[in-house]
Subunit: 427 residues, 2 copies
Amino acid sequence: MKDLASRTRTSARSLAAAEGGQRTQALEELIRLLTANEKRILEANKKDVAEAARTGLDAPLLARLKLSQAKLDGLRDGLRQLIEQGDPVGRPLRKTLLDDGLTLTQVTSPLGVLLIIFESRPDAVIQIGGLAIRTGNGLILKGGKEALHSNAILTDCIRSALEKAGLSPDAVNGVVQREAVHALLQCDEDIDLVIPRGSASLVRSIQSSSRIPVMGHADGICHVFFDKHADPAMAERIIVDSKCDYPAACNAAESLLVHRDFLPHIRRIGETLTANGVTLRAGSQASEHLTQCEPAGEEDGAVEYGNLTLSIRAVSNLNEAIDRIHQHGSGHTESIVTDCDSTAAAFLARVDSASVFHNASTRFADGYRYGLGAEVGISTGRIHARGPVGSEGLLTTRWLLRGSGDTVSTYSGANARSFIHTRLPLD
Amino acid sequence: MKDLASRTRTSARSLAAAEGGQRTQALEELIRLLTANEKRILEANKKDVAEAARTGLDAPLLARLKLSQAKLDGLRDGLRQLIEQGDPVGRPLRKTLLDDGLTLTQVTSPLGVLLIIFESRPDAVIQIGGLAIRTGNGLILKGGKEALHSNAILTDCIRSALEKAGLSPDAVNGVVQREAVHALLQCDEDIDLVIPRGSASLVRSIQSSSRIPVMGHADGICHVFFDKHADPAMAERIIVDSKCDYPAACNAAESLLVHRDFLPHIRRIGETLTANGVTLRAGSQASEHLTQCEPAGEEDGAVEYGNLTLSIRAVSNLNEAIDRIHQHGSGHTESIVTDCDSTAAAFLARVDSASVFHNASTRFADGYRYGLGAEVGISTGRIHARGPVGSEGLLTTRWLLRGSGDTVSTYSGANARSFIHTRLPLD
């Protein structure tokens, strides 16, 4: 694995140093190869799906495992969007004239080598592979064994696409063995970022067993807060969407906080949630206003159910709502429903989460909905990218200084020159 | 320590949520307090210096420990610059209209709580304390015991300044005990970033003993490469500055690579270096062209000497120079000396270090010289900030979505609406 990581590093450096046009060509080749190999891809996927069905994989995982012509169309569309976005590598972000003939430019650069650990969804190979090529990053893909055949053929397509564009195929590598993960997590010299996409326990175990930075989120414990000035119909619409649209998603709401003055309105909203199959776990104050609910335990309000369960608690005011969010939330996404502008402004200013919403469903926290194009995941970390992460999160910067024989001793001592430090326009 | 970290977190949240004007006021109060307490500060510092001299602290560390009226003037100037820079918190970076009445804004936000571990230099308390206030971050300062009295009074000034501005003094805390570091490094719930400023071994031991992200650099193994098209006089000027201006600095050159066609020129350059007190450790090919040198061992070319020692090696071409830099460098700063534009362009495009220079001394890699104002350190990591880090490296972002009752179910199914995704001007 150490060899594999080091080989990926070397190839990633040549991918990064190549002309942007070559990386674009690789993306174009990949679109062509996905079309040319469509039949083989779907057959390989059928094998995986049949095997997974036999071993009793969960229905949602099975659905994510399954490829279709429509999914392949979507993947090709995504690659076309990446091509249209243009080359994000080497873009100047800041240019400063330090002194005559001494110019500093901060430019975007690939991060280096990414390790992605994911389950079930073979389409992630193409989405993340495409993003890696676009951003000039090397990539090691560790998929689940349930997608073995699908992942293998899709990874082959990416490697062939790189080769056809005159780039080293070793910039993208697939890894199959489960034991490989532990070894790869030790390769902090050659892997710059780990992106785990899977269960909270997977993410936490990776975070605690590697010196390599980890981007992503363990939990998505998202809150909706009904302020006393919430419009009841809007409140109902938002909590139903936040909870029921896709309960297994990380941006689904797990916890509803209700201003005590709004409590009289929650009976009807609770009935609608129940009608949508939601189990309500209510605190004592809230439960008095609900037709049907279970009593909330200590853990409710601080767990990601990942299903149609929702915790409901009354709070006395905005401060208590924000304190609860900071204490029990995971810093993912929180939304306030209110018609009061100043309360909304205070919520948006003070809630310390990656995404903070006013009068909108928590489910909007998503790279596609945000208009970022492809998404590698959602980060609840504060270092590097935060929230939905698109190609910008896979870039770092370098500082390029162009001089004419300059020395720093010129700027100290008796006849010291002064720096100019003029910001120059980006070209 | 867990309590201290959690108290800092709470106070940091209120510092972050305060109006920018209040943070500015705290900086103004700090300038006043530094003046009002100047005598007491210099007396406390005298105690530290006397004690350190008695225990035989190194001369360079002793120089860094010592405060003077001039140093205090410099600190007040730095604080004034921070005030002039304006409030960096809550600045919009990107604004997107997702749909009618649904606007997404990405804004800058404080990182949260910073832990700074530093030695000797008590002025760092004010520099970093000022940056923390400016960026709305909580701060735990762990200084060395040699600066005990100086750090204590300066930290008190910061806490009083916060209080006078109506902010919680607990946003900034000083810690004295050595054992505290280990305990603080376990507080990954309440500390978001560790910035160690000290020896490479200190940095490495922190990196391997904490789940908290660490910003900084262990080694500064910087290279200068003399291309075959280098101007000999410029080459000499740049290597003398890179090596001799401040040999203990992380941005001083440790390793000189020389294109074999340029070797005939290094006799004179070597003599100048020797006259400046530099010990040359040369590879066999290079040594044939030098008047005075020691033979390079295996480790030379891959260590940070931190003193007036320089490794010299011949290389056959640009590729070999870049490969050596990638293999033995620390990704800090590298400089090429050449009159050939295409070789310079290739070096700048391909060298994977935080700072990459053409015809300039490696010593320019510094936040002040880059025009960033205050600097918290230089990062060789690729995640988050890279290179010299000013206030931008102490900020993250949040995504604020303002809607009017929007749900994602509107954008799927039979009558799905489409997103607009129009980029809006920043106001």
